[in-house]
């Protein structure tokens, strides 16, 4: 059976289909889950919609729901199959989720970790740029490129944090916005806005000066801030020059002897002392 989904991170979409399939006893191996994009290119097979009906209550351990919600946000095409296989197995193996080393459970957790990391990086690397506002609230716009369909699930984080300003986060996997009253979400790919913000220059000043050239650890930096994020981070364009100049700066500190003179205020301080 072929199940076609929009496949843009909507958990309800998968849940409705999975519940119907499970109540009809359709085994995982008999289902082919296909995303709309992939289905569209295959002209010879008519897209099947999920079977309706079958609302037999399905019971799962509490831990399954958050795991499945996270899985469905992953961009790997096999996510729907993996989630359904777990659901199917849980009907007879109710302790399955406790066995992290089970191949399906291990894979699900690997997907879950990847989605969590992506969300964490979104919290970290979104950069808001200010745009003119037509009311008393200030307005900001950001462009971010996530790996997975995580935009909607992170709306709450940004709303709780940036309550007193209007903002929009645009991504190729959808956009969210906040105006002080409502969160709006659209799962269609957005366009990259072209905006300058003068504060970025102060931020770069900070980034360049908080860096300690005597402690170069480039690999460590790249593990946590992989290059794929650099193009949307205003500070990242400084990195090559900071690295290139580091050794010379340290050598300069070493060759320049400590000065023999002291600042004027040091002398004043000393005169003040008893």
């Amino acid at each position: 059976m072929r199940i076609v989904l929009r496949a843009r991170g909507d958990f309800e979409e998968w849940r409705t289909a999975a519940r119907a399939l499970l109540s009809q006893g359709v085994a995982p191996r008999d289902i082919e889950w296909v995303g709309e994009d992939a289905a569209g290119t295959d002209l010879f097979s008519a897209p099947a919609t999920p079977p309706m009906g079958g609302t037999v209550p399905v019971s799962v351990p509490k831990a399954f729901l958050p795991l499945a919600e996270s899985l469905i946000c992953h961009s790997d095409p096999s996510r729907f199959d993996l989630a359904y296989r777990l659901l199917w197995r849980l009907q007879t193996e109710n302790t399955l989720l406790h066995i992290r080393s089970d191949p399906d459970v291990a894979r699900a957790h690997a997907f879950d970790r990847s989605v969590h990391r992506d969300s964490h990086k979104m919290h970290a690397f979104v950069r808001f740029k200010e745009i003119p506002s037509d009311n008393e609230r200030r307005a900001f716009v950001s462009w971010f490129e996530p790996d997975h369909f995580i935009v909607a699930r992170n709306a709450g984080f940004f709303r709780r944090r940036f309550a007193d300003m209007d903002w929009l986060i645009a991504t190729p996997k959808g956009a969210i916005s906040w105006d002080g009253t409502d969160i709006r979400f659209c799962d269609a790919p957005a366009d990259k806005p072209d905006i300058q913000d003068d504060a970025d220059d102060l931020w770069r000043t900070y980034f360049a000066n908080i860096f300690n050239p005597a402690r170069l650890k480039i690999k460590m930096m790249q593990t946590e801030m992989p290059k794929k994020y650099w193009k949307n981070l205003p500070e990242a364009k400084l990195i090559p020059d900071l690295i290139a100049g580091a050794e010379q700066r340290v050598r300069d500190m070493a060759t320049r002897q400590a000065s023999d003179t002291v600042p004027k205020f040091y002398e004043r301080l000393h005169r003040r002392k008893p």
Binding site: A124, R138, Y206, I210, P263
Partner: protein
């Protein structure tokens, strides 16, 4: 002529980089959805950027001023240094924090300062910045204030009301070191201030009799930092000092900062390449003490000079010194012993304990838990696996030591 804001930001962030802490975690959960203000803290901290030194940038870490009446030999801001000086007004620090926060560059502010006029004057200015952020601007992000050791109790009380974390640097691992290189600072005063902070933090943690509401005082606790490699203290001495700080003052973190060359350095201290590997090993040992049930004396027993092995991590070094305790059966061993297996982290141990209630675990299971089988295989038995005499091999250590690398000259 007064320097521009940008020029002063450059000077006062350059002056702040020798403070290692950038943590923004461990405070109360709060957000702005109810108040309509700005900012939130939701448990774990967020690193908004990384500099090429591999350090996380989570907070706007700046000095209010780098003028200082103290003359600590290791410090870039010591009064006898010819480093360029600058000062922010409290309003400027507030403005920078809020504008940086709105653009999602940072989690909050880590404010430190050189001592100007006297301790109370300096502390009063810092507290004013924190108060304005919280009260005037409804700011709910993270605030870390470096506490001035001799400031009055009233100012400290107020600092704890507005800041998430307070810290006082212990500076060097031994009292003799502090007296030698920071002659105007007194180890006894530093410890007394830490003790007073601990008392206030503990009190705030206890619900009062009349109300269920707790008093707020530095909900993310206190931390400290010591400089590594400026004096002669051994790793055993350093870790002993840390253990004392964790036990006596319940510090959340002790930061180790490898002594690093500074511009216009004092002649009293040699310019060395910062001992980064040593710093890393100390952090690993610190973790073993806090989360893996190791005693400091166990970690440092391996070598007579009290130094940690730089080529292999301290847990592996301990295992090689204590081969009689291995192999460990992953299907039956208790949690304490599993935590001592080189290559098992706390999460792995938790997963093993959970899974083995339902099935016998084999090496494949470990691989799927993302454990390096190569690293652990000499130390564990599992279903279908026993390490033979591997543990007795005289060259076992060489299996773990990394390939020699060409050294880079400083």
């Amino acid at each position: 002529m007064k320097k521009s804001l940008k020029a002063r930001l450059a000077i006062l962030s350059d002056a702040a980089k020798y403070d290692a802490s950038c943590a923004s975690s461990g405070t109360t959960r709060r957000d702005s959805s109810g108040s309509g203000g700005l900012g939130s803290t939701e448990g774990s901290g967020i690193c908004h950027a990384y500099a090429p030194d591999g350090r996380c940038i989570s907070l706007l870490k700046i000095l209010m001023t780098n003028f200082c009446i103290y003359d600590c030999a290791y410090c870039i801001n010591r009064s006898s240094s010819n480093v360029e000086r600058a000062r922010f007004s409290p309003e400027e620090v507030v403005w920078l924090t809020l504008e940086f926060y709105r653009r999602n560059y940072i989690e909050g502010l880590f404010l430190s300062s050189g001592i100007i006029r006297d301790s109370d004057y300096t502390m009063e200015q810092m507290v004013r910045i924190a108060r304005d952020l919280r009260v005037k601007h409804n700011f709910r992000g993270y605030i870390h204030l470096k506490t001035i050791p001799d400031a009055s109790a009233k100012l400290i009380e107020e600092a704890g009301l507005f800041a998430d974390r307070l810290s006082i640097n212990i500076e060097l691992p031994t009292d003799a070191g502090v007296e030698k290189f920071a002659p105007q600072k007194h180890p006894r005063n530093i410890r007394r201030s830490m003790g007073e902070l601990k008392t206030k933090i503990d009190e705030a943690g206890e619900p009062t009799l009349r109300t269920r509401r707790r008093k707020t005082f530095a909900p993310a606790g206190q931390s400290t930092q010591m400089i590594i490699g400026a004096d002669e203290a051994s790793d055993a001495t350093i870790l002993g000092t840390s253990a004392g700080l964790y036990d006596d003052y319940r510090l959340r973190r002790v930061y180790y900062s490898a002594f690093s060359p500074i511009p216009d350095a004092s002649k009293a201290l040699p310019l060395i390449k910062p001992p980064l590997v040593r710093e890393h090993r100390l952090y690993q040992a610190d973790w073993l003490y806090r989360f893996y049930g190791f005693g400091i004396e166990e970690i440092t027993a391996g070598r007579p000079d009290g130094m940690l092995d730089l080529t292999i991590d301290p847990k592996l070094a301990w295992a090689l010194e204590n081969r009689g305790r291995f192999p460990v059966d992953i299907n039956t061993a208790d949690k304490e012993m599993l935590l001592r297996v080189p290559g098992f982290g706390t999460k792995t141990v938790k997963a093993i304990l959970s899974a083995r209630r339902f099935k016998r675990l084999a090496m494949d299971d470990l691989a799927r838990l993302k454990v390096s089988v190569k690293k652990v295989q000499a130390f564990v038995t599992a279903s279908g696996w026993s390490p033979l005499k591997l543990i007795d091999r005289s060259d076992l250590r060489s299996l773990f030591v990394p390939e020699p690398q060409q050294l880079v000259l400083l």
